[in-house]
Symmetry: C2
Subunit: 292 residues, 2 copies
DNA sequence: GTAAACCATAGGATAGCCCTATGGAACTTC
DNA sequence: GAAGTTCCATAGGGCTATCCTATGGTTTAC
C-alpha cells in the first residue's frame, strides 16, 4: 500500500467518479483506475461499485474510507509539524560536571532566557567520562567539562583556565597560615567527591606528585556537601575557583597553594559529526559572549 | 511523502544504523539512504545525526518518529481490518414498499437470523419510485417492490403475484354483499395511501378503467392507518392480499372483486452492475427458499 | 597502521507509474 | 431507436524514480 493509492481512493470516494477524481489528483484516468485496482487487490475487497454513471463505495470501501482519511490527515499533520516549526531546534540537551554545573549553568541559562526566549535548555549533570560518552553517543548536544578530553570524534573548545584552591573551615589550622604548600596537606584529612569524579582523580595525582597519598575522610557526590563537611571542620578539600561563592565566606576559607599551583581547564565539547542545531549555536554564542 | 520512505525511516530509527535498516527492509543500503535523504529534503529537516558508528535521531527526527509509527500502525490496522474481515459483506440494506415491508420483511428477517446468524439486515421502507432510484444509485443492495419496474439497469426477479382485495368495515354495506364488482365501488368513499404510492396509482387507474373517479376521503402514509380508518367505517379501500392478517378480521372484511380482478406482482430488484455481496446472496436464498 | 564498518555518491538497470490510444458498456439525447 | 456522449478498463510504450552494484571517503576497531 502506498500513500498515492490512498489519495486516489479518497478522490474517487469524494467525487464518486473516476474521471473527475483523476483530474483532481492531476493524473490521467487510467493511471488512477489502475492504482485503485491495485489497492483493491492488495486489500482483497472491491472498494467501489462501478454503476456506470456513479462509483459508489462498497461496504469495505466505506470502512476503509474513514481510516484512509485519518491516515492522510496524520501524514499532513506530521509534515506540517516539521515544515513550519521554527520552534524545533530550540531544545538542546547540555551536560556539565558537578563542579561546573551549579556555578556556570544557572547564570548561562538565565542569559539565554533573555537573549533567546524560545530556547529550551535541558541540563544533565554527570562526571567527565560519562559526559564524553554521552556526547559521543549523540545524547547530548554539548557538554561543559574539565580537560583533558582527547577523543578524536569530539570538538574541544577550551573556555577558561582556573586554579584549584585549598578549602578549609575558618577554624582549621591551615586557614590561619599565610601560605600553604602542597606538602603541608599531607597530614590532613581530605573530603572528596566520588571516585568517578575527574577532580578527585586530579587531586590524587597532584598529591602523588608531591609524594604523599591523601588521607580521605569522606566521599560525597555533590560539591555542596563537600563544603558543608569542610565548614564543620571535618577535613579539607581542593576545589576549582569557580566553586567559591560569596555565601561560603562565613564558614570557609579559600587559599591558593604556593609552589606549582594546580589548575584545571574547562572546555565545551561537541560531536564533530553532529548536525549543529540552531539552539546549540545560540547557547554557544551566549556562552562566548558571557566569558568576554 | 510515501509509505516506503516512512518504513525506511522507522527501520533506521530503530536499528540506529542505515546498513542494518536496509537489511531489515530488504533493500540495498544506498536505496534506503537515498529515500531517507529525500524524506529529509521534503520535510525540511535532517532526521538523523550521522555519527559514524551510530545514527541518532535529531529532535525533528524524534518528533517525526512517533507520528510515523502511528501512521504505519493505522495503515496496518486498515489493511488488517479488510483482509481478515469475513464479517464484511454481512451487512445489507434492503428496501421494501409500505404494502410489502410490514408483512414480508419481519418473517424474512426472522428466517435469516436463524439461517445466517451473522447477517445484518438494514431495512428501508419507501415508495416504489424511490426504491428504484435508490437501487440505481447504489444505496440499496436490493428492494422488494411491486411491478412494473422497467429500468434497464436493474435485474427484476418476480417472486409472487396476488390479487388486490376490497377492504371494508364489518358494518359497511359492501361487506354484506355476496359479490362486489368494480362499478359497485364508484359511489363509496376511498381511503388511500399517499400520492407517491404506486398502489394508489394502480387503484386510480383501475377505477378509471371502469369509468369512474374514486372519491377520496382520507390519505395516509401507512397501511395500518388505512385499516384503522376503514375499520371505523369511514370508507373503503383496496389492498394487496398479503396485507390481510388474522388480527384484522374482527373489524375488517376482505373481499375479492368480481369481473377482471386487479392484481399486482411483487419482485426483487437489484442493480445489474453492482458487486453482489455474500450477504445479499444469502438474503435472496432465504427469500426463494421461503416462497416455495 | 591496517582492516573493518559505515554512509554517501555515481552510474546503469529496471520496475512501476504515467501517459495516449482504444475498446466496450452504459447512459443520454434527439 | 440510433447516434452521440460519458465512463471505466485494457493495452502498449515512455519515462520517472527507485533499485541495484561498485566505489570512495570517513570513521572506528584491532
Amino acid at each position: 500500500m502506498e500513500l498515492h493509492q490512498i489519495r486516489y481512493f479518497i478522490a474517487v470516494a469524494e467525487s464518486e467518479n473516476f474521471t473527475r477524481a483523476a483530474e483532481r489528483a492531476h493524473v490521467s484516468q487510467p493511471s488512477l483506475s489502475q492504482q485503485v485496482i491495485n489497492l483493491e487487490k492488495e486489500l482483497g475487497h472491491k472498494l467501489f461499485h462501478r454503476l456506470g454513471r456513479k462509483a459508489v463505495l462498497t461496504e469495505a470501501g466505506g470502512t476503509f474510507l474513514s481510516r484512509a482519511k485519518r491516515i492522510l490527515a496524520e501524514v499532513d499533520d506530521a509534515a506540517r509539524e516539521l515544515s513550519d516549526a521554527p520552534e524545533l531546534d530550540r531544545r538542546i540537551v547540555v551536560g556539565a560536571t558537578p563542579t561546573v554545573a551549579p556555578y556556570l549553568l544557572p547564570q548561562l541559562i538565565g542569559r539565554c532566557r533573555t537573549e533567546f526566549p524560545r530556547l529550551l535548555i535541558h541540563a544533565r549533570e554527570d562526571f567527565r567520562t560519562h559526559l564524553v560518552r554521552s556526547v559521543v553517543e549523540g545524547e547530548l548536544d554539548l557538554a561543559l567539562t574539565s580537560l583533558p578530553v582527547k577523543d578524536p570524534r569530539l570538538s574541544v573548545e577550551p573556555i577558561f583556565k582556573e586554579p584549584l584552591l585549598l578549602v578549609a573551615g575558618r577554624q582549621h589550622p591551615l586557614a590561619k597560615r599565610p601560605t600553604v604548600t602542597a606538602t603541608d596537606l599531607a597530614e590532613h584529612t581530605f573530603i572528596l567527591l566520588g571516585d568517578s569524579s575527574s577532580l578527585t582523580l586530579q587531586i590524587q595525582r597532584f598529591c602523588g606528585d608531591h609524594a604523599f597519598e591523601p588521607k580521605i575522610g569522606y566521599r560525597c557526590s555533590q560539591v555542596a556537601t563537600v563544603k558543608e563537611l569542610v565548614g564543620l571542620g571535618l577535613g579539607i578539600s581542593i576545589l576549582p575557583q569557580v566553586c567559591r561563592v560569596k555565601d561560603d565566606l562565613k564558614s570557609l576559607v579559600y587559599k591558593r597553594l604556593s609552589g606549582r599551583e594546580p589548575e584545571r581547564e574547562v572546555a565545551v565539547i561537541r560531536h564533530l559529526l553532529r548536525y549543529q542545531s540552531r539552539g546549540a549555536e545560540q547557547f554557544l554564542g551566549a556562552l562566548r559572549e558571557w566569558l568576554k
